[in-house]
């Protein structure tokens, strides 16, 4: 009996491991920046290039940083959701316009709607490197003390909003 059960048991263990492996997404690399202070930046704004926005301006409130670009196809997928979220007034969204061209970026916002309180321009992707950006769109939830609490890699979906992001925002907003 053991003779037949043992290989079966080993096979089952292997199968379970492989099955779990199938459900993992190799693109979701856990960010080491979670629960660390959001990297500081001082960048020119997209709409008013002469103005500068600093990451410190947002201390004291919970905010979202959404990395986007007009050349990014997946950004279009999540965009209606971001517009909706911005309109709800739950949380201010700031846009990091990543390695883009100013005019096309402005046109893109005109065409698809502008959910951003302010968009800032990261022309050479330097701030992107600081934030560990490797696949646009990416979205960060940053708390009142300027700590990164969540990173969404790839487009924000209804599912990720309802299950993770919105409850987290609520929790963070209730913190002192």
């Amino acid at each position: 009996m053991m003779r037949y059960l043992m290989p079966l048991a080993i096979f089952m263990v292997l199968a379970v491991f492989l099955l779990v492996g199938l459900t993992l997404n190799p693109r979701q690399v856990p960010s080491p920046l979670i629960d660390k202070p959001a990297p500081k930046f001082q960048l020119n704004q997209l709409h008013e290039p002469e103005k500068i926005m600093s990451s410190d301006d947002n201390l004291g409130k919970v905010w979202m940083l959404n990395v986007w670009a007009s050349w990014c196809v997946a950004c279009r997928d999540e965009h209606p959701l971001l517009v909706q979220l911005a309109n709800s007034g739950i949380i201010p969204i700031y846009g990091l316009n990543y390695k883009d061209e100013r005019n096309t970026a402005l046109q893109w916002l005109k065409r698809y709607g502008d959910p951003y309180a302010i968009s800032i321009v990261d022309i050479d992707g330097k701030v992107g490197i600081d934030y560990g950006v490797y696949g646009v769109p990416e979205t960060y939830v940053i708390d009142k003390k300027g700590i990164i609490r969540h990173k969404q890699i790839g487009p924000v979906t209804v599912d990720s909003l309802e299950k993770t992001i919105l409850p987290l925002i609520k929790e963070l907003q209730n913190q002192a």
């Binding site: 080491p32 050479d124 992707g125 490197i129 934030y131 560990g132």
Partner: protein
């Protein structure tokens, strides 16, 4: 006429050859290294062969032509120019992208299984082989043949010899 026709063919073949060769030429031009300082380039390459491109995950940053890798290579060049040590540069990237950028995972509590798993598996395999062989040796008993069986065996052997003689 025939002579002219031959000329036309020659011209066509020649321009075809030109057409085929010229794009190769253009590519060759593009491949000229852009770095101004070969020393920096050498250090940058040595560092990036062991770093993973996060966009195209099975390529190193040295090999990859992805925009992401271009940016990281540029960043590393700048940091080398700023006299950062290799260790500092790697740490800079790990702080931002995690251990996943390293093709050589560091020894940490979470990676102990990764480092020692193969050795442990090998020991388990070796151990079970030894146990199995010992048990089998105990199970096999020497059974003495009865006189009849010996006779029978000799008869069979003799028969074989006779067969060969014939």
């Amino acid at each position: 006429m025939i002579c002219q026709f031959g000329n036309v063919v020659r011209v066509i073949v020649f321009s075809l050859a030109l057409f085929l060769v010229s794009p190769l030429n253009a590519w060759a031009k593009e491949a000229i290294p852009v770095a101004e300082d070969p020393e920096i380039e050498k250090r940058m390459l040595a560092l990036t062969v062991d770093l993973r491109c996060l966009v195209c995950q099975n390529e190193s940053i040295a090999d990859s032509r992805a925009e992401f890798s271009n940016d990281i290579r540029r960043e590393i060049r700048e940091q080398i120019k700023a006299n950062k040590t290799d260790k500092e540069i790697v740490q800079f990237l790990v702080d931002r992208y995690g251990d996943f950028v390293l093709y050589n995972p560091p020894m940490k509590p979470t990676t102990i299984l990764l480092w020692f798993g193969p050795v442990i598996l090998f020991m388990v395999g070796l151990g079970s082989l030894v146990v199995y062989l010992r048990r089998r040796r105990l199970q096999i008993e020497d059974v003495a043949l009865s006189p009849e069986q010996i006779n029978e065996a000799e008869a069979l052997l003799n028969e074989d010899k006779k067969g060969k003689n014939v």
